[in-house]
């Protein structure tokens, strides 16, 4: 009997040929797989958000198998003894079942929640990277707008998810949301009645939020993310300036295989970090909050961190109530300003910023090279201002916990937040602006005079001068232009040490030779290294 030879090595090739013969995909795929991505750690922050979104979808699908999104009242009889016999909604009871009776349910719930927090955190960090490096400039304004919308849609996804378990905390949040809706002049009561199908809390809100949370909002997120990534492909990724990199090219790694493999590995890392957090850190212990009852409000009731700035703005808002003398007097409650007007302004500013900046700078060219934050001090300053504003509001959202744990008066926290909100952002702008100018100036100084060598030379007349290693040949003045990329500032970066070995995390630098002792003759310099000369002999 003749044994047929099976050539394993030929399988991928044969399969690929078979696929191509049927679908004719090799030409478009080649283009796609050869796509070049620039490599820098800060370009991976957006991927954290993407990968945690995938984890959110996976864990979320698991949770829907066991969650019952209705407000039907049931008597809990599960395995969590301290709530047994308590009347509660089916939504809350099934959340307890997921936590205590479904195998692996609690870690899935906690991973889902941590992934949600990570999704929003990564979006914000990625957004800061894009902002501070000017990656949002023409032609990428659309992607900036989509990214900002992703934050706000993620915000809605987070809030609806936070409300679903129908525990004491989420019900309190929902009550606040209904109050915010009610505060809108003229249409407020109609909006609330439409959302809750009558008076708060009604009997349908959990079912409505459920379908929004598992279908409408994720659908919107998937659509926005698809367009976001598609635009990155179409418009190509920005890159840092540097040797060989211009506004018209992209220097980096091909999508396949290296970049794809690295991204696959990074997905595993993100998944692992979320799983570790889900297993190690308890999040949202719904069983302690109890079922939602209108008369139960716990101390330290806060929204998740990305909503906390709204809580903070509400806490800082003075009780200014505006009464318009129409009929019996129409009242605009103070809640309207910090929770409807303020986020409205924030959305508008964040969406329109690229256009405002281009108009301000009269710069309508396309930019594919990034800018270092220090090179655009006013933008970096504005960013620092915005971050300060947001952080103060977020801290104020937790000001009761901070006041309690750090033994500060709650009233003092409130006033510090009010005053800080007005004073600190301009101060942050000024300080950041000065720091940027200082860093720039130091870069220019090194370019002009060279790197400090740490060698002090004594001149014949007794003066001491520090010896500088110029970065260019010649007299070292004005030879190198400032191009907005990293300037070496240590001799090690210029090869004063021997060649570095690639380490696990950073290159390992080794001293070149044995140290020179004073009594011995000087060691001959290695031929390939430049001689260190004095950069200048300034007095």
């Amino acid at each position: 009997m003749k044994r047929r030879k099976f050539d394993v090595a030929a399988v991928p090739g044969n399969t690929a040929r078979a696929v191509d013969e049927r679908f004719q995909v090799s030409t478009p795929l080649r283009r796609l797989l050869n796509k070049v991505f620039p490599d820098h750690w800060s370009f991976l922050l957006g991927e954290i958000a993407l990968f945690s979104f995938i984890v959110l979808l996976l864990t979320g699908v698991f949770l829907t198998f066991f969650f019952e999104p209705t407000m039907t009242e049931v008597i809990y009889n599960g395995s969590y003894a301290p709530l047994r016999g308590t009347p509660m909604s089916a939504a809350y009871a099934s959340t307890l079942d997921i936590s205590f009776d479904v195998r692996g349910g609690l870690i899935m719930r906690q991973m889902h929640h941590w992934a949600a927090l990570l999704f929003m955190a990564a979006i914000v960090v990625h957004m800061l990277r894009v902002f501070f490096t000017g990656a949002f400039r023409k032609p990428r304004e659309t992607n900036w707008i989509i990214g900002s919308l992703l934050f706000w849609v993620g915000f809605l996804a987070g809030f609806t998810g936070y409300s679903l378990p129908d525990d004491g905390l989420s019900g309190t949040g929902l009550r606040i949301a209904s109050a915010i809706m009610l505060s809108i002049p003229v249409i407020g009561s109609w909006v609330t009645a439409a959302v809750f199908n009558g008076e708060f809390p009604g009997t349908i809100i959990i079912s409505r939020f459920f379908i929004a949370h598992v279908l409408l909002i994720p659908g919107l997120l998937v659509a926005l993310i698809t367009v976001h990534l598609g635009l990155v492909f179409k418009q190509k990724h920005t890159q840092w300036p540097g040797p060989g990199r211009t506004n018209g090219n992209v220097v980096g790694e091909r999508m396949f295989p290296r970049y794809a493999i690295k991204q696959g590995g990074f997905f595993m890392v993100v998944f692992g970090v979320i799983a570790l957090m889900g297993g190690l850190f308890q999040i949202n212990p719904v069983w302690l909050f109890g079922p939602y009852e209108a008369w139960v409000v716990s101390a330290a009731s806060q929204p998740d961190w990305y909503v906390m700035f709204l809580d903070g703005s509400t806490r800082l808002m003075p009780d200014w109530e505006i009464t318009i003398p129409i009929g019996e007097g129409y009242v605009i409650p103070p809640l309207f300003w910090p929770t409807v007007v303020l986020p409205g302004i924030l959305v508008a500013i964040s969406l329109l910023y690229p256009f405002m900046e281009a108009r301000h700078l009269k710069d309508y060219r396309s930019h594919n090279l990034l800018q270092r934050p220090r090179d655009v001090p006013f933008r970096t300053g504005l960013g620092a201002m915005a971050v300060t504003f947001y952080v103060i509001l977020t801290l104020s959202g937790a000001n009761d916990v901070i006041a309690d744990k750090f033994h500060i008066s709650l009233n003092a926290m409130t006033w510090a937040g009010r005053i800080g909100l007005l004073l600190l952002p301009p101060l942050a702008y000024y300080v950041t602006y000065r720091i940027c100018l200082g860093l720039q100036q130091h870069d220019r100084e090194v370019l002009a005079h060279g790197v400090e060598t740490g060698i002090i030379r004594r001149l014949p007349d007794g003066r001491f001068v520090e010896v500088h290693q110029p970065l260019s040949a010649g007299d070292g003045h004005g030879e190198l232009d400032y191009v907005g990329w990293v300037v070496p500032k240590k001799m090690n970066r210029l090869g004063a040490l021997g060649p570095a070995i690639r380490g696990f995390f950073y290159p390992i630098e080794r001293p070149a030779e044995a140290p020179v002792s004073p009594g011995h003759p000087p060691v001959e310099p290695r031929p390939e290294r430049e001689e260190i000369t004095s950069g200048d002999t300034r007095p």
């Binding site: 003894a81 927090l117 990074f266 716990s298 008066s409």
Partner: protein, 279 residues
Amino acid sequence: MTSDNDRRRGLLARLRGRPGAPSRGRRRLGAAVRLVAALMLAGGAYTVLAPGAAAQENPPLSSAAVDGKALFDVSCVTCHGRNAQGVEGRGPSLVGVGAASVEFQVSTGRMPMARQEAQAARKPEVFTRDEIDQLAAYVQELGGGPVVPAGDNLHADGNVAIGGELYRINCSQCHAFSGGGGALSSGKYAPSLAPATDRQIYSAMLSGPQNMPVFGDNQITPEQKADIIAYIQTTLKDDGDPGGLFNLGRYGPSTEGVAIFLVGIVALVFASLWIAGKS
């Protein structure tokens, strides 16, 4: 009814002196005697019922209370004044606060106070168990007041499900869902329940120390108090945090937000540095 009326009519008739016709002098004598008798009756009743001035000066203190008074006169008299009647602007009167209040304040180390501030903080207690009992006996004998039942385990037959519901309705506004405590206005706060014993929780509910309202036995019955204590001591403190090794202090979303940045984002930024550094 009728017999009652008859008897009454007879009495009135006799007082008016209808039967017979007594002489004028005899009537006057009778009036004088009646007046003296009425005066003596009123005076006697006053003497019996009114508290004697001498008795207020020197209450018959029990031996424990005498010891307690000795301790009081050394450690507490500065602020609470002689005979615990209070000093304006320094300390309130302790007459009528009861043993429960002493038990709470002294056994948690809040009293004696280190200094006047927004609120007395828990600190290592100064007095021993016996001394606290003596002080409590003294204050109790000054003017009565609520008393904590005997025994160290006051939640033996408590129902955690009922206790949990009562806790969430009555306690969680200030002490938070987890019993970790919370802020009140102007530097005041609801303390953490973590170090509190059964007796301290019970006495706090009875006496309403500092900013806490009083939860008297007519508002929350002793059985309900046992339920609440059972919930705090067994469920809140000993549930073992099924969600993980770290409960992040159970302060709600604020520490969770800190954790996602300090742990999640930091770990992943290092991971991205590592991956990008491998080109």
